[in-house]
């Protein structure tokens, strides 16, 4: 084939351009560590990478959501256990009041019981991450200990009111599945969320007030009827403790299930990242070899061109 002077240079320039462009692409892959530099590099791989990116982001979000919800459940469990202990302590205090050696100390025990009631209300108003744990879907301190007008049934006028609601806060840590995040107040504290507190108030009234509604003088003992009444309150309080324990156990079971799910998601994430990496990340060893090959080819081409292009008959004439 007849080769023109211009064509020799044109083909040389085209070969140089092709090699340099390949080298630049390999350098970019090596520098960024990414196989896909442009959308058009490999559309099939691009589709897989985009799909993996979405799955990774979704799975990460699910995992993070579960971690967040688990934290709340841990705190919820902790507070429920605290409540159970507080109820048990109240029951023990009542038992103490019935003890023969404490017969003359109902007023003193009433004072201690009042403190326990305050503590119980404070625990029932527990917060985590801006939520009142037992307020349902309301966003205010749900329980309030207050004194209302004294009556024959309630001579102290003490009352614990519930300002929350009995709705469950729910979350959707995974697609489609709604999970209860909170514990309803009535589950823990009985009817309308106040039954337990009413029991404690009743015990307080028995200890601090006489049957006629007047305040019990210090060192006045409880009557046999009052002791009987107090005795009946203790198993009711212990029933509440068991109730709280059951709810706590259910929460622990839910937490454990979520933990397993979180671990599964973590494993899934690792697999997804590996799948993504196979398409998106550059094989650095392969790239380094390709780069070396490209450099050698470029050098060979430059040497060949420098020999071939500079020779013509004019040089030897």
């Amino acid at each position: 084939m007849r080769v023109s002077w211009a064509y020799r240079f044109d083909t040389a320039a085209a070969a140089l351009e092709r090699l340099q462009s390949q080298l630049l692409q390999q350098q970019q892959r090596l520098a960024t560590g990414q196989q896909l530099q442009q959308l058009g590099d490999d559309p099939a791989a691009l589709a897989r990478v985009l799909q993996m990116d979405e799955l990774i982001a979704q799975t990460q979000r699910q995992r993070d959501t579960l971690a967040l919800l688990q934290q709340e459940l841990q705190v919820l469990q902790l507070h429920a256990e605290g409540l159970a202990n507080a109820v048990e302590e109240i029951a023990l205090l009542l038992q103490e009041a019935l003890d023969a050696k404490n017969l003359d100390k109902p007023s003193l025990i009433a004072e201690r019981l009042y403190q326990r009631l305050e503590d119980l209300v404070a625990r029932a108003n527990a917060e985590f991450a801006g939520h009142y744990l037992f307020a349902g879907t309301q966003h205010a301190a749900p329980f309030r200990l207050q004194r209302t007008t004294a009556t024959a049934e309630n001579p102290s006028g003490l009352q614990v009111t519930f300002a929350g609601n009995l709705q469950e806060r729910t979350a959707q840590p995974t697609s489609g599945g709604s999970e209860a995040l909170s514990i309803r107040a009535d589950e823990l504290f009985g009817r309308e969320g106040t039954e337990l507190f009413a029991l404690v108030v009743a015990a307080y009234n028995l200890l601090a007030y006489r049957g006629d509604g007047s305040q019990r003088p210090p060192e006045e003992s409880l009557s046999a009827q009052e002791r009987e009444q107090l005795q009946q309150l203790i198993p009711q309080l212990l029933a509440f403790r068991q109730r709280i324990d059951r709810v706590t156990a259910r929460t622990a079971e839910r937490q454990s299930r979520w933990q397993v799910l979180e671990e599964q998601l973590e494993q899934y994430l690792t697999q997804l990242r590996a799948f993504r990496s196979a398409d998106a990340d550059a094989d650095l060893v392969q790239m380094a070899l390709e780069l070396q090959k490209g450099q050698t080819a470029l050098q060979a081409l430059l040497q060949t061109l420098s020999r071939v292009l500079t020779q013509s008959l004019f040089d030897v004439l």
């Binding site: 084939m1 007849r2 080769v3 023109s4 002077w5 211009a6 064509y7 044109d10 083909t11 085209a14 960024t32 990414q34 896909l36 442009q38 959308l39 058009g40 590099d41 490999d42 559309p43 691009l46 589709a47 990478v49 985009l50 799909q51 990116d53 979405e54 982001a57 979704q58 979000r61 993070d64 959501t65 967040l68 919800l69 991450a129 801006g130 939520h131 009142y132 307020a135 349902g136 879907t137 309301q138 966003h139 609601n165 709705q167 806060r169 729910t170 979350a171 959707q172 697609s175 489609g176 709604s178 998106a280 013509s312 008959l313 004019f314 004439l317």
Partner: protein, 473 residues
Amino acid sequence: MSFRVLYIARSALLAQQAALDITSGNIANVNTPGYTRRRPVLVPIVAQPGAQGTGVLLLRIQEFRVRYLEQQLRSTTARHAAAESDERVLQRIAAILGEPATDDVGIAALLERFLDALRDAAYSPADLSRRQLLLQRAEAFAQALNRIGQDLEQLRQELFGQAQQQLDALNPLLQRLAELNLRRASSPEGSETAIALADEQARLLDTLARQLPITTTQDERGMITVSLAGHVLVSGGSALRLELRQRLDDASGERSAQVWLVAESGTPIASVPLEQGELASLLHHYNVTLDGQERTTGFSLVRELNGWVAEVVGRINAVLAQGYGLEDTGPTPPGRALFQGTTLQTVRLAADVAADARALPLSAAPGQPDDGTIAWRLLDELQQPVFSGGRTARGAYSAIVTQLGTLQAQVQERRQWLQMSQQQLEAQRQALEGVNLDEEALNLIRYQKAFEAAARVASVAASLLETLIRMGS
């Protein structure tokens, strides 16, 4: 003994000198684009049949032009130029989208950040800081869409400007081709002038072929007729003008650009559908790829993205319309939306929600500020395959990006294949038409030696004459 030998020597000197001139011209133009090599056609001078030769004559200059190859090369050039332009435009578009994003600036990444903030707000819907963060992320998402919409529209206008510029540059070429036709017709065939004019014609046609899928025919006088999509652009000494015109469809609002043939008087003759050439590529991307109102089945990125934005915004707003804000107490939901506008360029945060994060309707019932049911529902909706094509919100966007990637890969492949094809054709053309320096060096020696020999003949003839004259005296 006569003076004939001197005449023969003279004719040889003149012919070899002309051949040397032609060879020098070839060497001088070795790098001139469009230049085809020339060869002197030398013939013996014969006074009459059977008579002794009386010297040599430069009959004509031969040019090496292979018209069928040039035609084929121009057709390939038009397709290659279109593919190159397609590749450039698609690269620009890909850069605007910024996918696959390595940082958090792409649409997909911003959508994920919005979903993360939505999750946080769903978890603590009464928390104002989380509501505020959700609004910020929603705004960042909308702004990214706006930026992409504006950049794509800007690119579209830029393409129109480029098409306009290129068309403006083509009209003088057409005019020049018509002038060359007239000059070519009046130049003797085989003369240096005729060949130089043919070179210029070829150069102009090569330039024209990059932009337009022209076809050419040549008559016996060397005049070239240039046609475009069945319309004659240049014929003899006259040329039509090309104009770029925009057409606005009142019904759809679609604005398209077309190339029109215009008579010298300025009267439009016909619109010309272009399929190949750089101009066709620019107009295709203006009329289809970047046209949001495009109604054909071609891949319109802006239309696809607008459709996606409308669907995402529609679904988000539909879910939130069932929700209540922190201050809402009425029995029916206020029907608030998060976004207004349904296209890349118009999507914005809804004013009432943007002004007060409390108004974000995340709860399923009034007066239940810590209920994030609606927010969870929205999060779920956006992650479920309920969008077009049975995809998720992000999946639907990824499908558009993948479609763009596939198109880019096809264009790259086509461009590479056409480049190879063009190089092969160019090699064939160069093999026939191009100048080879070594060959010219040999010719230089050949004609130089012949010139020296002719000079020697003249010298010998002069010496013989001198001898004869001396004998006579």
